[in-house]
């Protein structure tokens, strides 16, 4: 179904494909796959630095028995010498069987996918897409709640600029979710995402207070609000504490509520939440491994 395809944007994937990937992640977790990608090479082309994404791609490929080549940060690459992305990708295509890339420019992953035959996995293209994050989020939700269908999710923080929440909202809309958008007005979910939700008949609500959703939601998806998003620093100072999750705020949380976060966190989840039964963000980060293993295996066609 996905052999030799690329994974560039969650907007390209159907519900059927998402289900298929989620089922494969589950299968990967249960089987011995240490020789599945023996002899295959993953190229990790990280034109901007990343910790979790790059390391988890590398770990995923090694757990599949494959090997990894690549670079991180553009200082050491030919890009510094002025080479175009197109030329870099065309060259590296000959060195590996599949590429995972991160690039600061929007649409760079699509250009790469259009340029070569081998599969491209988008590990983040500027402010646009980061589909493996969305898939690991869906897998986390499925693990913690037994299924993805019909759940209630609250997304908190910078919803205007956060690519993670944009993609997750689109993906959850395929699973008949009810969505709460919790953000100051100036950082609310963009209109084009809301239009997609409207077209799909998804129920969504907007509020400025986390406490409004605490007893209603199955998932509390936190993101960081950056100071530089506010033209007036006074405005930022006034609202910043309203979007920091503290342990006592979880007292009335819905039973089974899980707190998720794409990480890294700065101060938006206070450390005393870490040992609460609701905390799920480190687990979520660990699920990046089976998720990326499944994606690599499916695109290489070593697993059907």
């Amino acid at each position: 179904m996905l052999k030799n395809k690329d994974l560039i944007s969650i907007n390209d994937t159907t519900k059927e494909e998402l289900r298929y990937i989620l089922d494969t992640i589950k299968k990967i977790e249960e089987m011995d796959c240490s020789n599945l990608c023996k002899g295959k090479i993953l190229g990790t082309l990280f034109f901007e630095p990343s910790t979790r994404t790059r390391l988890s791609f590398e770990s995923a490929m090694k757990r599949l028995g494959g090997s990894v080549i690549g670079f991180s940060g553009d200082g050491s690459t030919s890009r510094k010498k002025g080479e175009s992305l197109y030329d870099t990708i065309k060259t590296v295509e000959g060195y590996c069987d599949i590429i995972a890339m991160r690039h600061p420019v929007d649409g760079s992953a699509r250009l790469a996918a259009n340029s070569v035959i081998i599969p491209i996995i988008n590990g983040g293209d500027g402010a646009n897409q980061h589909p493996t994050q969305t898939l690991l989020d869906l897998h986390t939700i499925r693990k913690s709640h037994g299924q993805v269908e019909g759940l209630t999710i609250a997304m908190v923080g910078d919803l205007k600029y956060g690519r993670t929440v944009h993609s997750l909202a689109i993906a959850m809309s395929l699973f008949n979710a009810t969505i709460y958008f919790v953000a100051p007005q100036q950082l609310q979910m963009p209109k084009d995402i809301l239009e997609v939700l409207d077209q799909r008949g998804i129920k969504y609500y907007m509020t400025e207070s986390i406490m409004d959703v605490m007893d209603k939601t199955d998932i509390l998806y936190m993101t960081r609000i950056q100071k530089e998003r506010f033209p007036d620093p006074v405005e930022y100072e006034k609202m910043k504490n309203a979007y920091i999750l503290k342990k006592e705020m979880l007292t009335n949380a819905k039973s089974g509520l899980k707190v998720m976060h794409p990480l890294p966190r700065v101060n938006e989840i206070s450390e005393d939440v870490d040992d609460a039964e609701h905390a799920h963000y480190f687990q979520q980060a660990h699920y990046g491994i089976p998720t990326r293993m499944a994606i690599i295996a499916l695109l290489l066609g070593v697993l059907e």
Binding site: S9, L85, Y86, P104, V105, D106, G107, L111, G126
Partner: protein, 156 residues
């Protein structure tokens, strides 16, 4: 008031021997088409009329370009700005070809993405947009996935 009969209309925008006629231009788009086709400094006869009476549109515009057949790319530009206009090729004073333009499903090459951080504005990539909605026109960059509304569309 002078009655706008056929004869008078022909006087206002005289017939051309060879070239292109763009008809049924929605009100207000005549000068925009002249601009996107870079006809401001055209050195042959160019006639344009706006606010003509039209049975279909109420008011319409018309452009006659003497001695020029539009290229495929120029026709596509017209279709993006003013879909549904009629375009006629004129040969020896008579219409040799008449087409009603329609909006293509994909708009390649002629529109510039207005996201400055889009790869199409950074590397020499041919742009490509999918049409999300025809009226009012809304398109989406196939690379950076930015949605662009009609009034924000920038032609190359």
């Amino acid at each position: 008031m002078i009655e706008e009969n056929k004869e008078y209309k022909q006087m206002k925008i005289g017939r051309i021997k060879e070239g292109t006629v763009i008809d049924h231009i929605p009100p207000g788009l005549c000068f925009r088409l002249i601009n996107i086709l870079s006809l401001e400094r055209y050195n042959n006869v160019l006639s344009a009329a706006t606010n003509l009476t039209s049975a279909k549109l109420g008011k319409k515009g018309m452009i006659k370009i003497s001695g020029k057949i539009l290229t495929e790319e120029e026709v596509k530009k017209v279709a993006v700005v003013a879909p549904n206009v009629t375009m006629c090729t004129i040969n020896n004073f008579s219409v040799s070809k008449k087409i009603k333009l329609t909006l293509p499903n994909e708009i390649k090459k002629i529109v510039k993405c207005n996201n400055p951080n889009c790869i199409t504005n950074i590397e020499g990539v041919v742009t490509n947009f999918g049409v999300l909605q025809e009226s009012p026109l809304k398109i989406k960059c196939c690379f950076c996935e930015r949605t662009i509304n009609k009034e924000e569309i920038k032609l190359k």
